[in-house]
Symmetry: D2
Subunit: 361 residues, 4 copies
């Protein structure tokens, strides 16, 4: 009910404020017997953490994860897995200047309206710092999915108006070789250049992260409400700054006729496939065994290094001054978050479907 | 877990197949003491039902709702409200020709893959007929929301490439006066004409439904996972044929800079407002008191009146022949479904927030 | 949240008032592919229904079940199973005399205090009539459990102070051959005689139902909160008039020493067993493969055929007069309800555990 | 699904093994704005912790709680409250001798059967050490309940066959003045003496904890499944070693007639009361405003200081030798756990009911 729990079987509870002692997560419902490599968790956290490159915020946070339970002699035991990340940089800043201010397009006002109280330091719970806990949980989900041959990955496909040109072949190896996490090296340069320009202006810019799930078997997703793409959509929209979600043909599919849009079935080497994949790997809310792909729209970050007019708690006009560290574009750091959320959704639905398979009459 | 339950407090369970005896819904958690007008439930069902105009499927279904419990002497009692709609047209057709076929871009294959068995008559549970139960529940939610001054409405904003021109003033009165449910009379004519053409071709076309929520107080939505727009997104994406969701500036916001995108706060007549509303009424996942608006992309209906190549259960090539009744465009009938799902989400979150307000220290 | 939903995977939602049009249930999460015999559902309903013998209430209710969805060509499809039982006797009585009265030890006052409104006809939702929906759902659960070799049964072990003597061998065949559903023929006669005496006095009497689960594999139950016996306890305590629950040695185990109480493990024919079973088949909240047994205490029915002092809604003293039909002892009709609730809990946990077995690394 | 989450609104997730790095809890759904005194949390933990008196286990654990989130400037913020208790004594012991053994009436065998793997050190997750996390969460619930005038307390009412004589007045002040936590000073001495004797024998003994809730308003509890006493029952039965639960007249009520058992209503000073309270403050699953009381049966602790026959993982006979530290009777330390679980259930239902009150039409 409090909104900090996600998933039905592989269920995560996250906690923590941007400038409190720590953030973290409990996973309840992790299947037993899986070997977990803590380095892979740390690696994903490193992909999300601040200070990783010149085009992201320079907050100093090592984001070192500590596992407190649920893993014994290297393997999951079926009991809750708790992970904690202590906030290193929690006391470095004076937040009294924004204590009573409502920063434009931040959650200051809405948290105040909702709870009547808020931890104003760095956005408190509304900070994207919270997503580190998701990345840690997602890194465990990824390792379990890998055992079933399922992979999730994501990449930056658009920054501002700079996008990967249509029909460009996607090169997964390129993604981690550029700070934007674009899947095309040429576009990556243009994106990085744009972000640097935007930063110089003290401004920010939006972008798109494309997510892909490979190796997903047919049968995942529970009609009618927990359709696979509906749960993916909720997962992505729950990420800070995400404003839109589409899968398969998405919004572009609107203009097509049914005769153009339908994917035809074939049998290939004993496996049912479709000759096209406008369905994005999901039909009737259930995976059909083809690749799943989707796109997430991220708005420009609300924190800008410019003065903005606003009001304070008493309704009086104030000037909000941008200062300190910020992300000129959220998208490069959003990539591992999108992957993590996709992994959490897919694993949860895989477990749900494996139960159905195991128990059918 | 089965995926047929939606909502946390105002929780609905739906049931029923397209050609079984009945479909229906139980609402658990409806607050007590509300007068409910059954005619308003029927009115919304009539807006969704087949045969309502020349541009929708001509299946004969009166969709007459029967209330079995939870309302006593005209008022809700706090106990479960069960509603049933008997299928009138359930036996009129022979479905043996599609018994073993997988229709392109339908859920035949995925249901078979998931459950190993399926009710193939008219799509069974995967039929959009199921949404009638949502509309019935949503009609009760709307009546309760009205008591708090909250209204949800929706309209067709695009069919194929025909869309309401930018900056056209929205006239709510126009919506129910044209069979497309477009909010602009001139565009409505063009849309209707397009749908008639498409139908003549034995084809189908996609579209966009825009949803609006008026009068929503600040404070609704639960960070971090149950953000208001994340739950709206899941709700809309769970509607048959929905392929994308965006709110506020949505995908278009990507190209803006933060300085262009941020909404500035002002106090007006003692109420906090924003001078623009690119946030779509939601900031940090919580409503801010401004109008909430969002857009849902619907793909072209998969059932077309043309022959298509496919395979059957044994993997053999077959020709799927289109015949009988179908919707050339799902959007006109999707409008009341979008409204219903919006009402269900908003009421659920209103109850969640009213609890917080009632219990804060 | 509304409290009318039970179970995690095999999840039931019930609805209906004693004198409304109908009661019923939706099962969401029933595994697909199981043949279901509707006669077995009806048979269990007949064991619960009024008028079945001279020692139960004579209300006329055939309790005929109608299946509305989820079963196709005799087999479960994995989609929701809805069942409805129409109330035949709903209009036969004038309830205006109790409209504003609070009957002693009934739920009239508490429903009024909770909801501010109540359907006063025959107790409305608080009537034990609601349990028919549980029995119908439980009858499906039993059929699925039978496929895994698991059986639930129950019997009356005590009425007032008449109880089956210690160490009496339990004869399952005897249970349905006497109207009390006692597992010992001699004791059954004494119980029946007591109930007839009590009825002549216009009074009521309590009793104990013992429940047994045979064939349950080791591994069911989820620590730490959803321990198998904790969920069984909640299930039984949720039955009208149930005031206590104990399993294994129960309250009697208090007086034993650990050295007397511990069950020793042995291996027998390759299977781990315990030489005694004071644990009642459950250790650490998880089934150990031995028989599960438990006892449920039922208080005397609150409706008596005597005048009682009480108050009305305005706090004024009134005399509540007993009249009409009533059960002198709830226990005979509670037996199939206990079985049904046990089957629902065990099946739910079986599915949970089968998922773990199917997904472990 | 994993079973480590409890509650609907005030929802706790616990984690941790007996000999892992830490145990802890996240509370999601704590209402905002409450001042929380950390000393009161620690005080309850001190009442539960090992080593507190001569009649409990001498394991050295300070059980120092650390709050990681959700409380800002001393008040709850509505965001998740995480609390961690590091295990001080985690490495002090060699557990290799029980690595492959199944200790009688412990959860060693059932965890192995369920998960195929287990942390055997000190029982791992099955250790009652886990309940410290519940006590910490319960201590916060108690502080919030106090603001509504609701108090929960518990006491030892029976150890072995030594019980507080009937009609003995309960003196709450006595409870914390004796190591047994008995509410009667004379009986306390007899109980303590019995426990010392039992310990000398290297044996253990069971007991009863009585729980009481004062000041609970009418209206708490959600029919039909989430009846207040059903949720209390599940909560208590989920505590390690609890074998039975009864409320109000409980098992003793069986032998009464309805005319003897019914509680008559009266109005006193404008408040509805009952002249007797065999209902234990709950009617139809909903609180009626009278005191709530219940009794929990605890079996003798399974760990005894005697040799016992058992088997190991391969089914071979072994001798399990008792050594080290143990509780001769769990009841004194169970008292704060019963209180905590009662507070968690009552607060959860209070929030549920306050929502209904705040939203009724």
């Amino acid at each position: 009910m409090g909104g900090n729990i996600f998933g039905q079987i592989f269920r995560i509870s996250t906690f923590g404020e941007s400038h409190g002692p720590a953030i973290g997560v409990i996973i309840d419902g992790c299947p037993p017997g899986y070997s977990i490599d803590p380095d892979l968790i740390q690696k994903d956290l490193d992909r999300r953490r601040p200070g990783q490159s010149a085009i992201v915020t320079q907050r100093k946070e090592p984001d070192q994860v500590e596992i407190l339970s649920g893993i014994f002699e290297g393997r999951t035991t079926g009991t809750p897995i708790a992970m904690v990340i202590h906030n290193a940089d929690q006391k470095s800043k004076d937040y009294s200047h924004i204590k009573d201010q409502f920063r434009p397009s931040h959650a200051d006002f809405t948290y105040q309206a909702k709870y009547g109280i808020r931890d104003y330091r760095g956005g408190g719970r509304s900070s994207a710092r919270e997503t580190a806990a998701r990345v840690a949980a997602g890194a465990i989900a990824k390792q379990i999915l890998a055992r079933s041959g399922i992979e999730t990955y994501a990449y930056t496909s658009q920054v501002g108006t700079v996008e990967i040109p249509p029909n460009t072949p996607i090169d997964r190896d390129v993604i981690e070789r550029n700070p934007v996490r674009c899947a095309d090296a040429t576009t990556a340069l243009a994106m990085e250049s744009l972000i640097r320009d935007i930063r110089k202006q003290g401004d920010t810019i939006g972008g798109v992260v494309t997510g892909v799930i490979l190796g997903c078997p047919a049968g995942l997703g529970e009609p009618v409400f927990d359709k696979l793409h509906a749960d993916l959509g909720k997962a992505m929209l729950s990420i800070n700054a995400c404003k839109g979600f589409e899968y398969g043909s998405g919004f572009a599919g609107i203009a097509l006729k049914g005769s153009e849009h339908n994917d035809l079935f074939e049998q290939l080497d004993g496996k049912v496939i479709t000759t096209t994949n406008r369905s994005g790997g999901i039909q009737g809310g259930i995976s059909n065994g083809m690749d799943i792909y989707f796109r997430c729209a991220f708005k420009p970050v609300a924190t800008i290094m410019q003065d903005q007019a606003s009001i304070d708690k008493s309704g009086q006009p104030v000037t909000v001054s941008g200062k300190g560290r910020h992300d000129p574009c959220v998208v490069p750091r959003a990539v591992p978050i999108v992957e993590a959320m996709a992994a959490l959704v897919i694993l949860d639905h895989l477990l749900r479907q494996q139960m159905i398979m195991a128990t059918m009459g």
